[in-house]
């Protein structure tokens, strides 16, 4: 397995889409956190007391991660669809005929790179945001209740979205189809579910990745969501289902 991991690492690091998608993720994440915290600082004097208590220094500093997740998803999609688009999948399968090990190795490297990069990025975003907020002494620290968990779970969640992208790529093979499905799962289905009648919107909403992510990355309990840890596990299931289906199919389809 170590040989496969090394091979997949070289593969992932030698295509341009890796640095470009990660750079986009970094830009969105840092810019989002900066904008939100700068806005807090700027509007603070004019805020009412109620508005002031609603300011969440932890959540605002890592707000960009909620948008940057899509870049991590695209990163995961491209890690596998780039092989199908170029035809190198056949070389990969010839080199490692056990497709399950090949794809498990690729998932490990893709998810691992996303996890490390996203965690560092969210942590960087957190500290940058706190530096901005310190102008009005609004800053939190990692010891603030829920802060460390929010930062770590936001990193984990980004890696999970990368793996959702990976699984969809493995299932659909085509970059455009997989990215469309990714956007649908992350952003569109939560929107549509809001139109469901009665309590259904909330009951189903708990299990949708968008709301689960809000729960996982908040310092306080968000209404109508699962606990942060359960939310993260639900998100992991979203990654696992298409990945397992894709691996099941690649054993049966001709390459």
């Amino acid at each position: 397995m170590r040989d496969i991991l090394r091979s997949e690492w070289i593969k992932l690091m030698s295509i341009r889409s890796t640095p470009s998608t990660l750079a986009v993720a970094a830009f969105i994440c840092l810019a989002g956190g900066l904008a939100a915290t700068a806005s807090d600082v700027a509007s603070w004097p004019a805020m009412t007391t109620v508005q002031r208590t609603a300011v969440d220094p932890v959540q605002d500093s890592i707000l960009g991660a909620a948008v940057a997740q899509i870049a991590f998803g695209v990163f995961g999609v491209l890690a596998v669809t780039s092989e199908y688009a170029s035809g190198t999948i056949r070389t990969s399968v010839a080199a490692v005929p056990e497709r399950r090990r090949l794809m498990a190795g690729k998932a490990t490297v893709t998810g691992g790179v996303a996890l490390v990069f996203a965690t560092l990025l969210v942590a960087g975003s957190f500290f940058l945001g706190q530096a901005v907020l310190s102008q009005r002494s609004l800053q939190a620290g990692l010891s603030t209740p829920g802060a460390l968990r929010s930062v770590l779970y936001a990193g984990c969640y980004s890696a999970v979205v990368a793996l959702i992208g990976y699984g969809l790529g493995l299932l659909l093979h085509h970059t455009a189809a997989a990215i469309t499905a990714l956007v649908a799962v992350i952003f569109l289905i939560p929107q549509i579910s809001q139109t469901l009648p009665g309590t259904w919107a909330d009951r189903i909403g708990e299990y949708l990745p968008y709301n689960a992510a809000r729960s996982a990355t908040s310092t306080h309990r968000v209404p109508h969501t699962l606990t942060p840890t359960w939310s993260l596990l639900v998100c992991a299931a979203y990654a696992l289902v298409p990945t397992l289906a894709g691996i099941w199919l690649i054993e049966r389809r001709d390459t």
Partner: protein, 318 residues
């Protein structure tokens, strides 16, 4: 050694490979010939375990490809030189392949040097010509120093110098005792490089024979220039010769004789005092032999589809 046993592959209604059985043995270059759509590439994909056979087996040294540990150390293949990620450098492309099969990174530099693209190794593959991509594909096949090598149309895009280089390379690999399977549409190229031929048509085996035997079986003729063409023609076709040879009159007092060797013609002429000015044996080319063998099997030859449809209509009328 590659062993194919009753191998079949069906794609929907099309039987691309239909009960193929043959062996590719070490120490010689085996040419894999057949019209477009004959099933050559599919057979190679089945050998590599990329496609699953509908029936039958393909084995490398007695084992199916999927059971090989570090398969690239046993089998090297170039199926499609275009199946590379254009954004990678050649060196990165070979390094990831090497890493997965525990092949030393120093081997990457060796094969890049061996195929003559070492100076372009750091360039993105997108900037490569088709010939350079073929060389890179050959480098990838050689990476694991395998005992079995398969090349699908490796000559495509190579310049004349490259074609000659490849010929020497393939001969060297076979002389080292490796098993070499080579497909090509270029008959003259195949005639120069192959020792043995496996010819397929519509997924079926048409011939599995040494090149020399195929050419001999396809026959040839003998050109005879004589100042007395009618007399010699009578002599060769007459009951006296006992040969049943056929003779065509060509211009310039020349006869084209089929069914008699040059030696026999000379002997007969001498016995009967017929003068001969020139005697030339002509061998059938591989192209002649191949066309004869595959005439009924070409999937896409001109007008073929319409003819088949007509036959079908006639048959239903009858």
């Amino acid at each position: 050694m590659i062993e194919i046993r009753n191998l079949s592959k069906r794609f929907g209604p099309v039987l691309a490979v239909d009960g193929l059985t043959f062996e590719v043995t070490p120490g010689r270059i085996t040419g894999f010939l057949g019209p477009n759509g004959a099933g050559k590439s599919t057979t190679m994909r089945l050998i590599l375990g990329l496609d699953a056979p509908t029936a039958g087996t393909a084995a490398i040294a007695g084992r199916p490809y999927r059971e090989l540990r570090d398969p690239l150390r046993e089998v090297g293949a170039l199926l499609d030189a275009g199946a590379v990620h254009g954004g990678r450098t050649a060196v990165a492309h070979l390094r990831w392949i090497a890493a997965g099969n525990r092949i030393s990174p120093t081997r990457v530099a060796e094969v890049l040097d061996a195929v003559g693209i070492a100076t372009a190794a750091g360039r993105r593959i997108r900037t490569y010509s088709l010939g350079m991509r073929q060389r890179l594909g050959i480098a990838a096949a050689l990476l694991g120093d395998p005992g079995v090598l398969m090349f699908d149309e490796p000559v495509n895009g190579l310049d004349p110098e490259g074609v000659r280089w490849l010929r020497v390379l393939l001969r060297g690999l076979a002389d080292e005792g490796r098993t070499v399977l080579l497909s090509s549409h270029l008959m003259s190229e195949m005639a120069q490089v192959a020792d043995h031929l496996v010819i397929v048509g519509r997924g079926r085996l048409l011939a599995d024979t040494p090149l020399t035997e195929l050419l001999a079986a396809a026959g040839g003729d003998v050109l005879v220039r004589t100042p007395e063409p009618p007399r010699l023609a009578d002599l060769l076709t007459g009951s006296g010769s006992g040969s049943g040879a056929t003779v065509d009159r060509l211009p310039d007092s020349t006869l084209a004789v089929q069914g008699l060797s040059a030696e026999r013609i000379a002997d007969l002429a001498a016995e009967h005092g017929v003068r001969i000015h020139q005697l030339t044996s002509r061998h059938a080319t591989l192209e002649d032999a191949y066309m004869e063998l595959t005439a009924d099997h070409a999937e896409f030859h001109a007008g073929g589809v319409a003819t088949t449809t007509d036959c079908g209509t006639e048959r239903s009328d009858a």
